[in-house]
Symmetry: C2
Amino acid sequence: MIERVVLIGAGRVGYHLGHRVHAAGLPVEQVYSRRLNNARELALALDCVAVQDISKITPLSACIYILAVSDDAIDNIARQLAYLDHPGRFFVHTSGATPVEVLSRHFQHSGVLYPLQTFSRERKVSFQEVPICIHTARPTDLPVLEEFSQQLSDKVYRVDDDQRATLHVAAVFANNFVNHLYTIAHELLEQKGLSFELLRPLIAETSAKVEKHPPAHMQTGPALRDDQRTIMRHLRYLSKSPEYQDIYRLLTRSITKRSADQ
Amino acid sequence: MIERVVLIGAGRVGYHLGHRVHAAGLPVEQVYSRRLNNARELALALDCVAVQDISKITPLSACIYILAVSDDAIDNIARQLAYLDHPGRFFVHTSGATPVEVLSRHFQHSGVLYPLQTFSRERKVSFQEVPICIHTARPTDLPVLEEFSQQLSDKVYRVDDDQRATLHVAAVFANNFVNHLYTIAHELLEQKGLSFELLRPLIAETSAKVEKHPPAHMQTGPALRDDQRTIMRHLRYLSKSPEYQDIYRLLTRSITKRSADQ
């Protein structure tokens, strides 16, 4: 049974996760960050102690140590925490891209708690609706992590390392790349003195459509219709930006190919 | 003053536009479609007459004839309607990609009424929030079309042919291409037996973020961080699909370049 939480990392994931743990009525005992101000600010909100020195992290029983740090830092921090290993302690990271092995080398009970969402400090997230993908090095540990995670979210999924790697790649397409296309659209509009407001309802509807329908069924536009006249006109329009032309060409080809294959 | 509407085309745009005109209390007098069933179905809903023979379209005064047909068909239909030209009649098309000139050749009063949204029959759209971009061949006609459009939407923008062409390209990025990235993400998940449900909160949040913030400020992910280890891992993961690898590589390069430029 997990009765308390130590939070390693006070970045965006640590911030939102910490607040959710607190709101769920589970005590967060300590917040560690190498930036003391970050640790202090979050510790204040969560009513606990801030730590900047990693060797000062308290050994506790019935405790989960959550490493909400950047992918690159997990390995190093895990090494430094290895002395805390104990049958009453659970160690998880929150990374989509990192196998559990990085932790299971050092700890008897280890796993992954990957919240599949994009977090910003400026925005509140309804954490209860955030899918949490869990995995443990030992199968017998899974129910423990599952019970804990279900206190944080209504959507807890068992997802192994291999599946989580897939999710992470898919999330790059559906989030990072999508946002970059918004950025390009924004830039094209700005060049002509047009407001991004004009596109917002379209963006909202495009994403709302796939709430209910498979995205492939929702495809529209010149590429799907193989409307060469419009495609050529758009490519000419983009002629001053070979980079955007390449993106236009490649995505158009991919849409056309997919529709021809079906 | 525009007092009545004749709708040429009963496709997705005609359908939603017709319903909005009707709901706004303006009479739709006729619906034309070369597919009689489509015309009949929409005419029934709008309480008017269906026409399949284009030469049977009634000459009316204080009337706007809205050509809500595919880009390729506008020119041909405009020719066939040329005999209707009259000082009391307004002719507009609804295309983002077509200059007004296709109509102004034939009609004294012509323009464009471009609703910037993606329409599907399955989905209700709150038309009052759909941006309508208007343009007229004669500047003196603009207030007439503006007054009419403001009865349909709260967001009417004056957007000339050149700006509208920009909007159309930008909409392809923000809608068609974004939806294709959703499709790719869906496919990657399916290959591993994972549900698309897992990504839906991420998709919703990604689009909700740009309601308030410029998309460039919302960018996150391995490309922005120039996290070569993760990028290489993702590219290896996609090695069975050179097409998706190309898309990944190109968009990653574009994000990295943009962040380096700033």
